[in-house]
């Protein structure tokens, strides 16, 4: 957390996702960085720890599943939220096994992801106090 603000990284190869989410989350007081390529996101994650990572699963190159595996390896307490347009029981199961915080099938409402982020934030703040 920087200045007590929660930092969020968003990775989705469709730019519209970040374009819509970024200002909306910034307005709510989060620090947001967005990426459309998984390699670039991974590079950034290696430089900087994010409190919350939101990632798509299906992408060119490094897949979302591989990316989130790397993230959890580097920072076990970073909360990962998966967003995907190809939601299946199997991918959901695999994601949860890797320790993600929640899983949202696209399309979803802004309010839905905000609620998930708020729950993640609560968990992070509780952990940092204890």
């Amino acid at each position: 957390m920087e200045n007590n603000k929660i930092s969020i990284l968003i990775l989705d190869d469709e730019p519209i996702v970040s374009k819509r989410l970024k200002p909306s989350l910034e307005k709510k007081g989060y620090l947001v960085e967005t990426f459309t390529e998984s390699e670039a996101a991974l590079k950034r994650v290696k430089e900087k720890k994010f409190d919350i990572v939101i990632t798509d699963l299906k992408m060119e190159g490094l897949s979302g599943m591989e990316f989130l595996t790397e993230v959890k390896k580097l920072y076990p307490d970073t909360e990962v939220i998966v967003i995907t347009g190809f939601a299946t029981m199997d991918t959901a199961k695999e994601s949860f096994q890797k320790g993600i915080f929640d899983f949202l099938a696209k399309p979803f409402k802004l309010g839905e992801i905000t609620a998930v982020i708020q729950r993640a934030e609560e968990k992070i703040r509780n952990n940092s106090q204890s």
């Binding site: 469709e14 519209i16 819509r20 970024k22 620090l31 190809f86 696209k106 979803f108």
Partner: protein
């Protein structure tokens, strides 16, 4: 509906009916039995509903409330398309070979959707010329941004624009193919791009080629025809046009201002020449230089052209809705002069200057009147000329106070609709009528708009009136004075720019929505009619915000952030400027794509089955096909089961109910008494019905109170029109009676009713086994305005949810589902559906106000509780 939860049950019902038919001794059918036809029919009903719900959901995505991507758009299109294809196949199984033309209609629409998804011009949209009245903001690729935005202003904001038409990008491509013109130009621009020749040389070689090329014959003919149509419409002997560029990228962040030509006052006979000149202007030396400077490639040069009826203005000018160098001053700037506006735009003439407050009543804070010695005006036989202004008019203000105020209001309206500060060209006719000639986004300098992250703390600085209340029907930020609507009268003289606050999201409000800064209601559906219109106009809309009509005061200044959602006291400057500077999400590629594909899916053009155009060839959208298939499926069932029965498994006849409603009944097993006569002439009495759910339904339908105990209609005109439309359809076409159909068995009933313009569908299975029981009810349509139909839908929803139905409202479509109640409870509820059929028949005409919704709900519940037991006994 019939899929999913009740799908399995349906199979059970059918199998059960089949067994019963076999065991009852009626021999099984050969060929496509009625049972099989009916199975296809049920499949059609199920898919019909599934596809309509997918379409409504897709429209909801445009609200800005969802995160969706192109993957969603593609998969949704595939889903809807494949459902519609299934519908066509199912109908073909019911009526083999009869509606083959549906395949062509489907392919035509489906290919268009594929083209749009692939970023291509839809192959059916190859028009060379499109009248302004058929153009909207999303057609920028086809007609160019300037034409598209101007037409949007005229067609959707109720603002006057010149009559006109556009020569499309397709027309440009055709012109470039002629005599290999495009290839020749490319050779020259290639060597210019390689610095082998300079811009002046390139231009001097390209422009004569364009001017010498022949306009394709069909394009020339279509231009003449479009001009002649305007001449006729305007009742003019002679007509002149302004021919204006509307190139791709013009009006984008690169304004291309002044790069391309406009040719003024062109007589109808010389439009072809003017068209060539405008296209040639794309290759002026300065245009080539400009494109090189901003990195715009030559491939991207595509030039649709606008042809606008020439305005003969008293004065013309330009309005900026903000001061571009000092936006925080909150003023608008108008400049104007006598005659035509070209000198104002090019900055070559002496002009009057006015600074006015953005806030109504737009007080003029600074005026500069300049001596206007000359004016540019139309020459009699075409072209323009400069005339001297008499001395006594030189120092007179070219705009009156009233004109300035009207101009400012109009400017704000346009700005509100495009959600960006605007640079607007206008003219006032000699009769004093304001006409908008062009509008485009205005770039603001030194605009200290806050970033999104700076907005996080505004709740500490401003008073929040309400937050986290309601559901967002359309995203966005708006500021303005509250205007509370209590009755329809309040809609008259709606103050432009006000925030509309009212109890119900009634479709009636649509008539003022283009003027409202935002709309907030206490009740409303995000898939309802008003939500759709709010998304079309992109007016921020917040529904289901409790007690808002009493929380807010008339005239109170507020700021609505529909995304949050939150309502603030006063004007929250940070939010306001943020909204103006933020990239408009509705203009992103994905939103435009979704809107474009929905145009091929959503609109319903085939409404009345008795009309001539109710045929496959006339289907323009997938919704049209869905509607057509549904209508023909019902007809086929009635044909096969009643008019031309050939299946010994079924019995059929006309049910005599004693109320003004004819109903064809087809029994697929045990639904009717064994001893009845069947066939075309057979009349069935209610007591001969054995079907358990049908009996309950009939008792409800024939309850005389459901038909007679209503107060006298207040609005006789509307009532009569409902009556005549209902009855005339029945009288002129007795076959239409057959549209009321019940397919029944001992424990099952499927009822399709078309009473006048209402469509009702009931599907229910009731037995002693509670777990198998279900009832499904769907209702939509009507003859009156959307507001009353929506009220009626709310009434039905209120009654049915009171009796445990799960309700989905999509505008005037009501879907109600119920399952797994015991037999007695199910029968009571199906009886209620019967009552509803009687009550709702003309109910929409009586739904003149919201009070009626409550009254009728209460009345009907009483009717049920009083009448049910008694009638049973």
């Amino acid at each position: 509906m019939l899929h999913g939860e009740t799908g399995g049950m349906f199979d059970k019902a059918i199998n059960w009916a089949k067994n019963l038919v076999n065991s009852s001794g009626r021999s099984s059918a050969s060929g496509l039995s009625f049972i099989n036809t009916f199975a296809r029919f049920r499949e059609i009903l199920a898919i019909n509903n599934q596809s309509l719900e997918l379409i409504a959901d897709a429209n909801d995505k445009l609200s800005g409330e969802y995160i969706f991507d192109t993957h969603y758009i593609e998969t949704t299109c595939i889903k809807i398309s494949s459902l519609v294809e299934k519908l066509i196949y199912a109908l073909d199984e019911m009526a083999p070979g009869k509606y083959l033309a549906l395949h062509d209609a489907f392919n035509r629409i489906h290919y268009d959707i594929e083209d749009i998804l692939a970023g291509r011009q839809p192959r059916s949209e190859n028009r060379l010329i499109i009248p302004y009245s058929d153009i909207n903001r999303d057609m920028g690729d086809e007609v160019g941004g300037k034409n598209a935005t101007l037409a949007q202003v005229g067609n959707f904001m109720g603002i006057r624009i010149p009559d006109g038409f556009a020569a499309t990008a397709v027309a440009f491509a055709r012109y470039m193919e002629q005599d290999r013109l495009g290839e020749k130009i490319k050779q020259i621009t290639d060597s210019w791009e390689n610095d082998e020749i300079d811009s002046a040389t390139a231009s001097s070689r390209i422009q004569p080629l364009i001017l010498a090329a022949k306009i394709p014959t069909d394009l020339r003919a279509e231009i003449s025809a479009a001009a002649a149509a305007i001449k006729k419409r305007q009742g003019k002997k002679k007509i002149f046009f302004a021919v204006r560029s509307s190139a791709w990228g013009e009006d984008s962040e690169h304004s291309f201002a002044g790069q391309y030509s406009s040719i003024l006052n062109v007589p109808a006979s010389k439009l072809g020449e003017a068209y060539k000149k405008v296209i040639a202007s794309a290759y002026s030396a300065s245009a080539l230089e400009y494109r090189r400077r901003i990195g715009y490639t030559e491939k991207e040069v595509i030039m649709p052209v606008g042809f606008q009826q020439m305005l003969n203005p008293m004065c013309s000018g330009v309005l900026y809705t903000y001061d571009p160098v000092a936006p925080a001053k909150e003023v608008m700037i108008a400049t104007s002069t006598w005659g035509l506006g070209a000198p104002v735009v090019s900055g070559t003439a002496a002009v009057d200057e006015f600074y006015m407050e953005r806030e109504p009543p737009h007080k003029v804070v600074q005026t500069k009147i300049t001596a206007k010695l000359q004016a540019l005006v139309q020459a009699e036989n075409g072209g323009t000329k400069v005339i001297d202004i008499p001395e006594n008019r030189q120092m007179i203000s070219s705009l009156t106070k009233e004109q300035l105020s009207e101009l400012a209001d109009t400017g704000l309206l346009i700005e509100k609709n495009f959600r960006k500060p605007q640079d607007i060209e206008f003219g006032f006719t000699h009769e004093g009528e304001l006409t908008i000639l062009q509008t485009r986004p205005l770039a603001l300098k030194s605009f200290n708009a806050p970033s999104a992250s700076e907005l996080a703390a505004i709740k500490d600085r401003y008073k929040v009136i309400k937050e986290h209340c309601g559901t967002t029907a359309q995203d966005g930020i708006a500021t303005g004075p509250v205007h509370i609507i209590h009755s329809d009268d309040d809609l008259k003289n709606f103050p432009p720019g006000a925030i509309l606050v009212t109890k119900f999201a009634s479709p009636k409000l649509a008539s003022v929505l283009h003027m409202a800064a935002a709309v907030i209601t206490e009740v409303g559906s995000v898939t309802g009619h008003l939500a759709t219109v709010a998304r079309e106009y992109r007016v921020p809309a917040l529904f289901n915000c409790e007690n808002i009509t009493t929380t807010l005061r008339e005239g109170q200044e507020i700021t609505l952030d529909a995304e949050e959602p939150a309502i603030y006291e006063g004007v929250v400057k940070e939010l306001k400027y943020y909204a103006l500077s933020e990239e408009e999400i509705g203009e992103t590629y994905e939103y435009r794509l979704l809107r474009r594909v929905l145009k091929k899916i959503e609109p319903l053009n085939l409404v009345d089955p008795t009309e001539k155009n109710f045929r496959p060839e006339a289907c323009q959208t997938l919704h049209d096909i869905i509607r057509f298939v549904h209508e023909k499926a019902v007809q086929t069932i009635v044909d096969q089961g009643y008019y031309h029965p050939h299946d010994p498994d079924t019995a059929a006849g006309k049910l005599k109910l004693g109320v003004p409603m004819d109903l064809v009944v087809i029994d697929i097993g045990g639904g009717l008494a064994e001893d009845i006569e069947t066939g075309k002439k057979a009349i069935i009495k209610p007591e001969q019905v054995r079907s358990v759910p049908m009996k309950a339904l009939i008792q409800g339908i024939i309850n005389p109170k459901a038909w007679t105990n209503e107060p006298v209609p207040v609005d006789m005109g509307s009532f009569m029109s409902s009556l005549t439309r209902t009855f005339s359809a029945e009288i002129t076409s007795p076959r239409e009676l057959g549209q009321n159909l019940a397919v029944i068995s001992l424990e099952y009933a499927n009822v399709s009713l078309r009473l006048g313009y209402h469509f009702t569908m009931i599907d229910t299975y009731i037995s002693d086994n509670m777990n198998d029981n279900y009832a499904y009810f769907r209702f939509f349509g009507g003859v009156t305005d959307d507001a009353r139909r929506a009220r009626r839908a709310r009434f039905i929803g209120a009654v049915l949810s009171h009796y445990d139905f799960r309700i989905d409202l999509h505008g005037d479509l009501v879907v109600a589902r119920l399952k797994k109640l015991d037999k007695e409870a199910m029968l009571k509820r199906v009886y209620l559906l019967g009552l509803l059929i009687g009550v709702t028949r003309q109910l929409d005409v009586r739904m003149v106000n919201e009070q009626r919704v409550k009254e009728y709900t209460q009345n009907l519940i009483e009717l049920l509780e009083d009448g049910y037991g008694k009638q049973q006994n």
